[in-house]
Every structure is written in structure tokens, then in C-alpha cells.
Symmetry: C2
Subunit: 208 residues, 2 copies
């Protein structure tokens, strides 16, 4: 009996990381659905718990509060975004090409994404600060991602070894600007326009 009880404890302990992961995923899936359907302001932890089919305590224990839940949601979507970017550009031969296609995909993905472009349309007053006056963290994470790509490319393509971080930040700023305000004279509505723009004005920044 004792051995069997221990076995069962062990089994649960071993199973736990997986259950934990599944539960967190289930909650985040529900949160994403809730936030993108009703907006951040009108969504509570209760709503998310109900939608996920778990208790409020289960949510609070994992995500602290609503802000923690929003943050975790955002982080997960940002990593997915980076993965999609990586997948799109991985096979392209030069950093120039990767910048051009990366810009096209970044615009397409963020505009169409329910949590980025979607909430920007649904609740601009809530979302805008996180992309502007309080946008430091988002800017840094995205710049870090692009910087590491640029750095690797400089090695393999034998470019100058000056710090690629300012160029990366500049490119991220330009992309964010088009997400926030598409209404200038530069039309990037179709992807070919975005491609031409990036090749002409962003790619040359790699060599300054």
C-alpha cells in the first residue's frame, strides 16, 4: 500500500509540469479570446476563469492579477510573432532580404493580430500608452530580437562590427510608426508597396 501511494505521489509530481503547462496554456487561450473579443477594460479575471473553465483562484495563483494576465498574454503573442518572423526570413540569402521580408511580415502580422492591431482599433486609448509613452519595454524586447539577428548577419556577411543596436531600434520605430499611424503619403496597404519601401529606405540603413 505504502509503495503504491508513494508511486502515485511520484507519478503526480512527475506529471505536474505538464499539467501545469496545459493549465497555463488553457488560461492564456481563454484570456486571449476574452481580451480580443471584449477589450481589456471590460474584461475581468472572473471572465477569463469562466471562459477557461477553472476557478478564479486557479487563475490568481498563476497570474497574480489582471495586469499579470495581460502581460503573460502579450509575451506569448510576442514570442509567436518572433517565431513567425524567423520562419519567414530564415531561408533568405542576405540580411537585406531578411529585413525587407521581415518588415512586410511584421506589418501584416501586427495589423491583423487581434491583440495588436485588433485592440488598437477596439480600445486605442487603452493600448496606445503601451506602444508610446510607456512603450519602453516593448521597444527594448523587439529591438533586442532584431539586434541579435543583425549581429549574427554581420559575422556571417563580414560587415563592419559596429554596434547594430541603433539601426535595429530605428527599424523597429519605423515599423511601429506605420502600425500606429498608417495615414501618411507612404502607402503600404499592399505588400508589394511595403516591400519596395523597405528595400529602398530601410535596407540601406544596414550599411550606414
Amino acid at each position: 500500500m505504502k509503495t503504491s501511494a508513494n508511486d502515485s505521489l511520484l507519478a503526480r509530481a512527475l506529471a505536474r509540469p505538464e499539467t501545469e503547462e496545459r493549465l497555463a496554456r488553457q488560461i492564456l487561450d481563454a484570456a486571449l479570446e476574452q481580451f480580443t473579443t471584449f477589450g481589456l477594460r471590460r474584461s475581468s479575471v472572473d471572465d477569463v476563469a469562466k471562459r477557461a473553465g477553472v476557478s478564479r483562484v486557479t487563475v490568481y495563483r498563476r497570474f497574480r492579477n489582471k495586469d499579470g494576465l495581460v502581460e503573460a498574454c502579450l509575451l506569448r503573442e510576442v514570442s509567436r510573432f518572433f517565431r513567425e518572423l524567423d520562419d519567414t526570413v530564415a531561408a533568405l540569402p542576405t540580411m537585406q532580404d531578411r529585413i525587407v521580408e521581415g518588415f512586410v511580415v511584421a506589418l501584416r502580422h501586427t495589423r491583423a493580430h487581434p491583440l495588436f492591431g485588433g485592440l488598437l482599433r477596439l480600445e486605442p486609448e487603452v493600448v496606445l500608452p503601451y506602444l508610446t509613452v510607456q512603450g519602453g519595454p516593448a521597444l527594448v524586447v523587439t529591438t533586442d530580437y532584431l539586434t541579435s539577428h543583425l549581429r549574427r548577419a554581420r559575422h556571417t556577411e563580414g560587415r563592419s562590427d559596429s554596434d547594430p543596436r541603433p539601426v535595429a531600434e530605428l527599424m523597429v520605430r519605423v515599423a511601429v510608426s506605420f502600425l500606429l499611424n498608417p495615414a501618411g503619403c507612404i502607402e503600404l496597404d499592399d505588400e508589394e508597396q511595403a516591400r519596395v519601401f523597405a528595400r529602398r529606405y530601410l535596407a540601406p540603413l544596414l550599411d550606414v
Copy 2:
């Protein structure tokens, strides 16, 4: 008598544009003071009228409503901003130099200006939409301004006669991005940093 009455009518008619202009200026001065001290949300046409020492009707007759007043205030400050930019760069020998110093002055002026940087700090939720999702008009006006400078310079400096508008818009977008979100890794806190950044990353855009 009749002639004298006519003379007096004529005199008033002739004097009118000046009085009108003085009155409009007086109201806009009061509006600027009111908006930048108390924010847009908590300011009414009444507040502005009181501060200007005129009746509400006098304000309404000239500026339609509060939105019209805000717009007129903004327009006036934007023209002042362009004039300051012009004065700063007029004597500089090349367009490259004018871009660099223009960028430095643009950052300094907008950050310090009570209506731009000031309200962005005081009431970000009110101001942000006008600089982002509803920022089309502001972007177009500023891009127009810079485009006409670039076009003139292309003539006098004999550069390529391709349309300078996309470059102008790109530069405006970068400057707005730094106004909205100064918290990246590119530090432009002191003017020498801003100058180095503009010379290295913005000026080369003139030749792409």
C-alpha cells in the same frame, strides 16, 4: 453730419481686420494658457472666454466650439514651430546640415513646448490619438513642410529629382517616434547625441 457718419463707418470698417486679428490673438493666447495649465479635458470655452476677458459669444463666433479652438491653437503653434525651424537652419550650407540641426531643434522644441510635450505628459490619453491613430492630418502637414524644403534643396544642390516626399515622411515619423517614446537604447537626451544620431542615420536617407 452725413459725411462724418460715413467717415466713421469707413474708419471702423478699415480698422476691423486689425481689431479682429487682435481679438483672435487675445483669445488664442488665453486658450493656450488655459489648455496647457489645466489640460484639454478640464477646459471649457467658458474658461477661455473668462481668461481672455471676452464674452462666450465672442469666442463661439470666431471658433465654432472647443474643438475649433483647440485646432486653431494647434495650427498657430505648428506655424510657430515651422518658423523656428526655418530660422535655425536657414543659414546652414547643405541640406544634410539642415536635416541634422532641424532634427535637434524639432526634438527640443516639441519636448519643451507646453502644448506638445507638455500635454503629452499631462494628458497622454487625450493627446496620443492625435499623434497616432488619428494623426494623419498632423503627419501630412509636417511632411508637406519638410518636403518643400527637400525639393528646393534638390534643385539648388543638383540632387536627383525623385520625389522627396517619402524621405520627408520617414524623417517625420522617426522624430515623432522619439517624441512619443524616448525610452529606447538610442539616447537623445543631450543635443550632441541627437546631432550624432541624425548625421549618421537620417542624413544618409537624402541620398537613397
